[in-house]
């Protein structure tokens, strides 16, 4: 379903990131292969633009959806016809992108906005003057079964694992649980209570798609999503360090799966990482365990209390925990039906 967005909206989301002279690669923080032209673009991860959706009448009816805007930058090589197709479209139908105008003249930028359900992952391609290609802006590229590359995006509140394998997620869960207080017995009970008290209807209205109501309040999922998109440059930090931590714990506890180790094993590891001195850590593969710990702590804190659209704070359990302990009426400011503010639409 195509949604009307005016050219002002598209340019607002393009100029700052795309308009520039020269070829400097100032936006490569380690996330790109050599020569990837996306390194010249500021925050290429923003494309396609995943934004809130409102049908003009009902916030409840609108809440399960996002407005996703596909952008093709044809300024360098002008295109006549641009279209998008993907798994979000019925029978892979093509949706044309329109030329975006400034002062009545073509800007060279093409765009279209499509309504897509929250919580989903999709693959797509652009057709530019007859030729299919992956989105030259979006860094998320995935290989489908036939080995062909497709562009990928995911919508808000997505709970489908995109980055980490099951074992990585479980290990990450153990690490994170030590950083945040949610595994303390009384808090564990509280969080479980939050999830149990979410009745079926509110689950469907707030979180329309199936997701794992886990005890890390969605932090692992937040990290899975943030390194898939906005902080892709930290993907390697996680991959390497999770492997190293697995190795360290195995060598310290022969014959035992690190996932089954008691809390103390992770507490000791944490203390060592904080001082940057971890016995058995292969610094040749990753120089500073402390650096990784700080990254993990920043992501854990953010993921626990972030707006659930970013994949963390699932079921608003992080906010509920604060509300239970402190006067913190988060729902007053937040959009209904997530919160109870009916002036602000999210």
């Amino acid at each position: 379903m195509v949604i009307e967005k005016d050219d002002q909206y598209v340019l607002n989301h393009c100029t700052r990131f795309l308009a520039r002279d020269g070829d400097e690669r100032r936006h490569d923080f380690g996330q790109y292969e050599p020569g990837d032209p996306r390194a010249k673009v500021c925050e290429a991860w923003r494309y396609p633009i995943v934004d809130s959706y409102y049908d003009g009448q009902s916030v409840d009816a609108s809440y399960p959806f996002n407005a996703v805007t596909f952008v093709y930058d044809g300024r360098a090589a002008p295109a006549q016809e641009v279209a998008v197709t993907g798994t979000f479209a019925e029978l892979h139908g093509q949706t044309p992108l329109r030329p975006v105008l400034f002062l009545g003249e073509a800007s060279g930028i093409h765009a279209v906005t499509i309504r897509v359900a929250k919580g989903q992952v999709h693959t797509y391609k652009l057709r530019v003057d007859g030729a299919w290609q992956v989105d030259p802006l979006n860094p998320q590229i995935t290989e489908l079964d036939n080995g062909r590359p497709w562009s990928r995006f995911f919508t808000e509140g997505c709970q489908i694992p995109l980055t980490f394998a099951r074992r990585e997620r479980e290990l990450l869960g153990r690490l994170v649980s030590h950083l945040l207080p949610f595994r303390l017995p009384e808090n564990e009970r509280f969080i479980r209570g939050v999830y149990e008290s979410l009745d079926r209807q509110s689950r469907e209205s707030q979180f329309p798609l199936a997701y794992k109501l886990d005890e890390d309040v969605g932090v692992v999922n937040y990290i899975d999503k943030v390194v898939a998109r906005a902080e892709r440059h930290h993907l390697d930090d996680y991959r390497i360090c999770l492997e190293l931590i697995d190795d360290v714990l195995r060598s310290r506890n022969p014959g035992r799966d690190p996932l089954t180790l008691p809390r103390d094993a992770f507490a000791d590891l944490y203390d060592e990482m904080a001082t940057d001195q971890v016995a058995g850590w292969d610094t040749g593969r990753y120089g500073s365990p402390r650096f990784f710990l700080l990254l993990l702590r920043r992501h854990a804190m953010t993921g626990a209390f972030v707006h659930p659209r970013h994949g963390g704070n699932s079921g608003t359990a992080g906010w509920a925990y604060l509300h239970d302990r402190y006067p913190f009426d988060w729902a007053a400011a937040m959009e209904a039906p997530l919160g109870r503010n009916t002036d602000y639409r999210g």
Partner: protein, 599 residues
Amino acid sequence: MADEQREIVIIGSGAGGAPLAQTLVDAGHDVVMLEKGPLLRTQQQSPDGLSDFKRDELFATGAEKRLTVPGMANIGEAYFSSHVEPDLNDEPHVYRDTDGADRATIEGYTAQVVGGGTQLYGGVSLRFTPDDLRLQSFNAGRTDLRDDPNGEVEREARDWPVAYDELEPFYSEAERIVGLNGTRGNQEKPASVDHYQPPLEPNPISRFVATGMDALGMKRYRTPLAVITRDHEPSGRTVPADHESIKTAFVNRYGDPLGLKSNTWISILAPMSAKANFELRANCVVTHLESEGDRVTKVHYRDPAGGRRVLAATKAVVVACSAIESVRLLQLSGAADPGGFGERIQKSGRLGRYFLTHCFGGASAVLPERADKSKTLDSDWATDHCARGEFVRANGLWAGGAIYNNTSDAALPISLARTWQAQDMDNIWKGYLGDPSIVGNGFERYMDDNFGRRVSVSFMANQVAQPDNRIELHPTVRDKWGRPVAYVIKDWHSHDQALMDILADQCGEILRRGGEGVQFSGQGSVGGQVSRIANHVLGGARFGSDPKDSVLDPDCRAWEFQNLYVTDGAFMPTSGGANPTLTIQANSLRVGQALLGRL
């Protein structure tokens, strides 16, 4: 193709550009305004009923990025910016640090968006005092100034060429059209009219600040804030039926999706955006000005797609893109035409010099009671106690400042962590991450001790004007358009440090006298840190009555040009003892009147 001709071109849509635009448009003149940033609308304005501003902590401080600007000593370091602050790799501001190394900084940038800094500011809208505008006279012949061995404070102080009485009607008009709430009594700033809307109930944490101020005999008033609490006739805005719902900690560093925060877009520009003689072009960055003799004739800019375009200005050009960027634009224009524009704009040798920010700092405490700080605006109580001439003289200071409490700081969970012991935008997250004890049980203790329990009191005071505090074009660093970036070279004067110590102690006293159970945490200031700017960028193109001593004449017109005006904070010869936005707005209205008389 002939250049597009327009009467008046205004560069920048914030506090400096918008008020003057209103004066000119209302008088029927043809005005086009160029704004570098996007036009982010409120829900009511947006065709789809949604705003591009969100109540989402990741909008104020977004994803981590890493500095890659060649030659910077902080290359590789993490930085975080909001969705409307410039990208540091694309458009860095570079400052010279105390170790002599160059570093890029996010400090000193205002928002790049229609409405400029008024979209993200906390909305504190204080006037300056009459003495703030006459510090040369105030200090003439004094021998009691602290820590000023070379007599620079008295020598460099300047009276504004405009007295408070002349500015006063424009303050009143700015307060009317912008839309503020607050109280007038107990201010040291005389007002002819009271246009304040009623303030909302203070947050409970502010009670302790009121107690401390009262114990010290400091007369207090409700901090004037640019947030409407009642329907606002001049801008046609209405408020929700439940006025208390207006209070949200998504205020400082957040744009307002509901349009209740009185930024210049919603207050001033939007109401006239349908007029045929006004056009706002967002996402358009001006690269340089071109002149013929004593007239600026052309404004060169890049359109939203980066294409080169030119506007021919037949009557006037107004530069108002925040002090650092305005100075830089004038310097870049001079570099493009050294014998013409360059010679004229730099005739006094003062362009870029006497760059100012504020002496600022304060104190903080942990309170015995916990409050919901998420229901608040940016400040509740203010006092002009330390802005009074008696206080200033009794303490051997050259000037005073305003004191007010902060209520929205650390009010939301992620912001509590990322601003924890972080002194500025460059240090975000570092304090929290640097403390390894904030985990597990320690995390819970940390939240118990701090969440909803912290209060801080700030001062905002005059900084001594110094010729070597300056903005230059950086010799090597270029922005994404290949243009030299702004190079900020500044330091604090020894008298600044003395002033900051005294005012920080006053803030500390307020909290130490705040009542039983208040645990004083500490006090301090920005002294010693050259990068700190508070996003108050002022001076660099100061106005005055002597063409040899200033860049702009008393009407903020460049001395050697007939039709070039600068109306953001760059005009200030002294920085005033309060947040500068309202004064920039009032002055913009004043310059608008002067310009009207010449058209």
